[in-house]
């Protein structure tokens, strides 16, 4: 048998996991629209045909709304309301009917012409509020046109089980209904981490890689694909060797998961009896249950951006309250740390563009400039704090003024709520994410003015080393074990302890066993990782002697390069941490030959 040549495609990993399946190419094209000239006695029947098509699409969308609501919840169903409004747009409908009557053209042609006129000449192209809804208008018009043409829409429903969807992007309605029993993986040419489809794939735990250049030219459908949602890799026609390597990895992963689950009742205590708080980073409310089942004693980082991104508009106070309350109730009596919106300005102001967003108007800066928007979120968090131990954490803080201004807002919100007697409002604990070198250098001052610090290692590394890891040409320079980063981490931990507050870390640094070794050595109080990695992290903590780790960490701080730190860690683990060395064999660390 001739084996077709294996090819590797790279993209951005947005939903973790490994999947093997058959490529199903989805093309969301607009159907070709024929132009027909009608005789005047055909006109009224044509108008009726158009109106019937619109109303049958309307019932399709209502059905879809019900389905998405049931399976995914309100946050995710909302875009369909907008699609319904786009479908029934009075201007579009009346102009189409007028077009049919006056110009004696068939309905599909008239509808297409009216939409095009609207988008191109009606000022829609430049309309900032429209940009984010382009996909929705495309979605709706495709439905109407294929209804009129009697064509079957390309749909993910028609594909068999075990498929990997390959597309430029998915229309929102298809993404919302991704069925994990059929779709085992998703690969897109378009998109970033916050695209609608990426969020849906992550929420449904379907492995996904996006932003794969030239994807649609390279895949024609039917090929065997392997999607590696950890490393952002797509393997086309994987060789038997590759498949078996991955198979071993997947099996090993499953086996480890099972054996680690036995650990869920054990405490995260080092060999020499030092206790570390082990908590989880979550994005969706339902992840809180997974975190708790895996043994997390709290949520160390609750990202709130998805509340915004799933709806593609700012969530109301009540909506945010309900989501945070759900997590708080689930985690009781353990703490839940809610991080306020860590969004770029482009997500808030349609059409807003920055050439250097990481140094731009984002996170706390943007929130402080949009006080109403920010207060809405703060009110929701403060209200939810009545239900459990809910704390507030501010992202990307670089100056004390930012912390002070944000604290003042929290204080005012508490006062207002107390005055209104909305609920029993306590003083909410406030913490700062240490993810800029400035905050790390001033950690003492920050620690004096808040209740805890949490180191965000990804951004701290990016800002310290001046490396955008999304930029392929410099991504290899990104290394969170670089001694410059380690010194800032050390400084932060020491400062927190001097000022009598606790300090944690949420970030990839803390999910790496070697990172945990360093953190324990530096005296960290809390570690927060992805829910699925909790057992793994606990296993690592239990295999480490904190006293010995401190010796290693001191040595690491004296190194000059990241490579020297890595060498030191490997040598020391082999020499002094036999239990940890045994624990190091795990997927994602082992099969690295293919990625990075």
């Amino acid at each position: 048998m001739i084996h077709v040549r294996e090819r590797l495609l790279r993209g951005l990993p947005v939903s973790s996991g490994i999947a093997v399946g058959r490529a199903f190419v989805y093309r969301a094209y607009l159907p070709r629209v024929p132009e027909k000239v009608l005789s005047s006695d055909e006109v009224e029947a044509e108008v009726r045909r158009f109106e019937e098509a619109v109303s049958s699409v309307e019932s399709e969308l209502r059905r879809l709304h019900g389905q998405v609501l049931r399976h995914m919840g309100r946050d995710f169903a909302e875009f369909i309301d907008v699609q319904l409004a786009l479908l029934r747009d009075e201007e579009v409908l009346s102009r189409t009917v007028a077009y049919i009557r006056k110009r004696l053209r068939n309905a599909e042609f008239a509808y297409g012409a009216v939409l095009q006129e609207f988008v191109q000449h009606g000022g829609l192209v430049e309309a900032p509020f429209f940009v984010e809804r382009r996909l929705d208008l495309g979605d709706v018009s495709r439905r109407v046109l294929s209804q009129l043409l009697g064509e079957e829409l390309p749909s993910l429903h028609s594909m068999g089980g075990g498929s990997i969807v390959v597309a430029h992007d998915l229309p929102p309605s298809e993404a919302a209904l991704l069925d994990p029993s059929k779709v085992v993986g998703v690969v897109l040419e378009a998109g970033g981490k916050t695209s609608h489809t990426a969020i849906m794939a992550k929420a449904k735990e379907v492995p996904a890689v996006v932003g794969v250049e030239g994807l649609m030219r390279r895949i024609c459908g039917g090929e065997t694909l392997l999607v590696d949602g950890y490393r952002g890799l797509v393997v086309v026609n994987p060789t038997p060797d590759r498949l078996s390597t991955y198979k071993v990895e997947v099996l090993e992963q499953q086996r480890r998961r099972r054996s680690l689950r036995a650990l869920s009742c054990e405490e995260p205590i080092t060999l020499d009896g030092k206790r570390v708080d082990l908590s989880a980073n979550i994005e969706f409310a339902f992840e809180a249950r997974v975190a708790k089942d895996n043994g997390a004693r709290g949520i160390g980082l609750f990202r709130t951006e998805y509340m915004y991104l799933a709806r593609r508009r700012p969530p109301t106070e009540d909506e945010q309250y309900e989501t945070i309350a759900e997590v708080a109730r689930m985690m009781q009596p353990f703490p839940v740390i809610v991080r306020t919106f860590d969004l770029g300005g482009d997500k808030i102001v349609p059409g807003y563009f920055e050439s250097n967003p990481f140094l731009g108007w984002r996170a706390i800066r943007m929130c402080l400039d949009n006080e109403d928007f920010f207060r809405t979120q703060l009110r929701a968090i403060v209200r939810a704090s009545a239900l459990g131990s809910v704390k507030i954490m501010f992202p990307m803080v670089a100056t004390l003024e930012e912390l002070r201004r944000a604290k003042l807002l929290v204080w005012r919100v508490c006062r207002e709520l107390r005055a209104k007697k909305v609920t029993h409002v306590q003083d909410v604990e406030i913490g700062v994410m240490i993810e800029t070198p400035s905050a790390a250098l001033l950690a003492d001052r920050f620690a004096q003015e808040c209740s805890f610090l949490s180191i965000g290692s990804n951004d701290l590394t990016q800002y310290t080393l001046a490396v955008d890891r999304g930029n392929k040409r410099v991504a290899t320079l990104f290394d969170h074990f670089h001694p410059a980063v380690l010194q800032l981490v050390d400084r932060t931990i020491q400062a927190a302890h001097r000022q009598g507050v606790w300090v944690g870390m949420c970030g990839e640094f803390a999910s790496d066993p070697m990172g945990i070794l360093l953190l324990l050595g530096l005296g960290i109080d809390e570690i927060s990782v992805t829910p699925s990695l909790i057992p793994e992290a606990k296993n690592t903590i239990r295999a480490i002697h904190a006293g010995l780790a401190a010796t290693v960490a001191r040595q690491a701080l004296d190194m000059g390069t990241a490579l020297e730190v890595h060498r030191l860690l490997r040598r020391e683990v082999h020499r002094r941490f036999p239990q940890l060395e045994a624990a190091l064999v795990r997927p994602g660390v082992k099969g690295d030959s293919v990625g990075r």
Partner: protein, 88 residues
């Protein structure tokens, strides 16, 4: 006919979601509904037309309602624009 100026409230202006809500409310009335910003008038029952206005938070628009149920429609629609929060 009722006509008046309204300042757009809410967190982010008259973007797709509140525009959809506005249209939905407008559709419940028989009256003609029109909106204007900077002298440009559009059909208030057309979400696409409303989006072309790009009415941000704090911007001033003119609301005009004309028809048999104009009083009730005007009041409800005006309030919707002023609050302009997404949920009904």
């Amino acid at each position: 006919m009722r006509r008046g100026t309204v300042i757009i409230g809410g967190p982010v202006g008259l973007h797709a979601r509140p525009a959809a809500e506005f249209v939905r409310t407008a559709e419940r009335y028989r009256s003609k509904v029109r909106l204007a910003k900077d002298g440009v008038w559009v059909n208030g029952k057309s979400i696409l037309a409303i989006l072309t206005l790009a009415a941000e938070q704090g911007s001033q628009v003119t609301l005009e309602v004309d028809g048999p149920d104009e009083d009730q429609a005007f009041d409800e629609l005006k309030q919707r624009l002023e609050v302009n929060d997404s949920r009904t």
